[in-house]
């Protein structure tokens, strides 16, 4: 694969739910190691965009390719195994498993039912789980059931689970929603630390956080790319101000 070939490519993708178009002819390219933030008003199609990539929603029209292979009709679990991981908008964790078990399940290199019977997690994965758990500060809660964590802790557990899964592409849907300022800063640090080996897409409304990340920004509006570029350029775009940011405060 040459450098110029995109890792992930959406071409003319449309998704319609009973005649309502969540995505309209969306084309987007993501290169290896690219870091991207996606913003846009509610209903712009941000989450549907992730649904299409991760196999949750099948596009009505268009193509989605990852490493040159089509993702259409590929199951969610296969796409995940191929290296695309996702954190959901609301933190989805396995509430009746402890924090440690949540992470160990995600970190498991074996995904097959029979290989989970009787065999333990390899030591290398265990070490990685402890490293990640420590990084997000959840070590004191290792044996606490995820269901009794606070919202912020669940967000971190969800992000940590995704990191433990070791995907090539990380798709983060509102990773800092409901977090305190300090937690937000730390999350930004965590995400920035993944840069280099990983390709990261972050969907957020928190503009401070987006600025902190320093990724290039793509603005979605009505299921299409409105504009792309560095945050400052995007922020001063009159169309973005009109549909999303609103006029600057006086």
């Amino acid at each position: 694969m040459s450098m110029s070939e995109p890792l992930l490519e959406l071409n003319d993708v449309s998704v319609s739910f009973d005649g309502f178009y969540a995505l309209t002819d969306l084309s987007l390219k993501l290169y290896k190691g690219e870091l991207k933030s996606i913003i846009g008003p509610n209903g712009a199609g941000k989450t549907t965009f992730l649904d299409v990539i991760t196999g949750k929603v099948r596009p009505t029209k268009g193509t989605v390719t990852f490493k040159g292979k089509s993702l259409l009709g590929v199951s969610e679990q296969q796409i995940s195994r191929d290296g695309i991981g996702r954190k959901f908008q609301t933190p989805r964790v396995f509430e009746n498993l402890t924090v440690l078990r949540n992470l160990e399940l995600s970190a498991s290199p074996e995904k097959n039912a029979f290989s989970l019977l009787g065999s333990g997690l390899p030591q290398s994965s265990k070490d990685e789980v402890h490293r990640i758990m420590n990084y997000v500060g959840l070590t004191p809660f290792a044996t606490v059931k995820a269901g009794s964590l606070s919202h912020g802790q669940k967000q971190w557990l969800a992000i940590a689970s995704l990191v433990a899964q070791a995907p090539e592409v990380l798709l983060l849907d509102e990773p800092v929603a409901g977090l305190t300022d300090e937690e937000t800063l730390r999350t930004a640090e965590l995400i920035k630390s993944l840069a280099g080996d990983h390709t990261v897409v972050v969907i957020e409304h928190d503009m401070e956080f987006i600025r902190d990340l320093g990724f290039d920004v793509t603005v979605l509006h009505q299921g299409q790319v409105l504009t792309e570029g560095p945050l400052d350029k995007v922020k001063s775009d009159p169309r973005v101000i009109e549909v999303y940011l609103g006029p600057p405060e006086q």
Partner: protein, 368 residues
Amino acid sequence: MKIFQRLVPWILLAIALFILPAALDDFRLNLFGRYFALSITALAIDLIWGFTGLLSLGQGIFFALGGYAVAMNLMLNTKSLAGGNGIPKFFENYGVDQLPFFWQPFWSPVFTLIAIWVIPAAVAGLVGWLIFRNRIKGVYFSIITQAALMVFFHFFNGQQKLFDGTNGLKTSTTELFGQLVGSPDMQVWFYRLTVLLLPLAFLVCRYFTSGRFGDALIAIRDDESRLRFAGFNPVPFKTIVFLVAGALCGISGALYTIQSGIVSPQYMSISFSIEMVIWVAVGGRGTLVGPIIGATVVNYLRSLVSEALPEAWLFVQGALFIFVVVLMPDGIYGWITKGGFRTFLAAFGIAKKAKTYPQLDKEAIPVD
């Protein structure tokens, strides 16, 4: 204390094997044998419902298949029950003079011992796989299993020429090793067999619910589609546990049949399969001890209430279910382990007081 906890299962097993047979008359002992047989079904339902979140209302299918398998073998091998052609007499009533082909392998005891659990497992595996791979979940899964139960019920109920229809197959008058299956001596042996198989069923369920496989089951119950995004395909996990539960129900049905003396399509009635779920709910789902307690307690109560007030049992059962769901959402076992028993004692002023506050560093109370 730890040693005591380790000893508890062995003590219970010793009580069931040696003390109960000595203390109870034949009739009561036989009833306990049946409760323990039903406990295996309760364990199976706990495996799929309590741990994996699959509420099956059709476990009666597998229960009855196990029962029919053992009954067919016993009937074939009992000379006194054979008619003119050397096949069970009831066939003559319907003018059948040739043994239906699928009865043939049941002449063999070895085949029967395998069929008791393999046939239900195969049916469960196939039905489960078709349902799960089509992503049918929740209430729809429950409805489909109940519909399947009705199909099996009507098939067995309507086929006099194949299974003696609604009459079922009576095993108490059949013979095994030259003895009547319904004789007290035989029944004590069946009781012992049940008491030994129940812990084995427990261990099977523990094998599947502990470790990483068990974690995946709980993950399926909590958020199945999320598990897919972690790279796991839930279908094999669900199919495996549904198959194992089917096999356990088959064994349970066979043990119940030889101890109750008959297998009939009533084992596939809708209400019976719902009762099975009630046992698990009452005992405590999501624990492996709970279903055994539930099946034994509910069925023992049923015996007691039915003997005293034959009409009242269904009302008592309904009340019991409502009582447990409302006041003990974790069932009897969950209520005990979560300190319910102490609150109960406290109501009478005889509970031991906690020595100190729970230690914060050990309890790890989540803080923001």
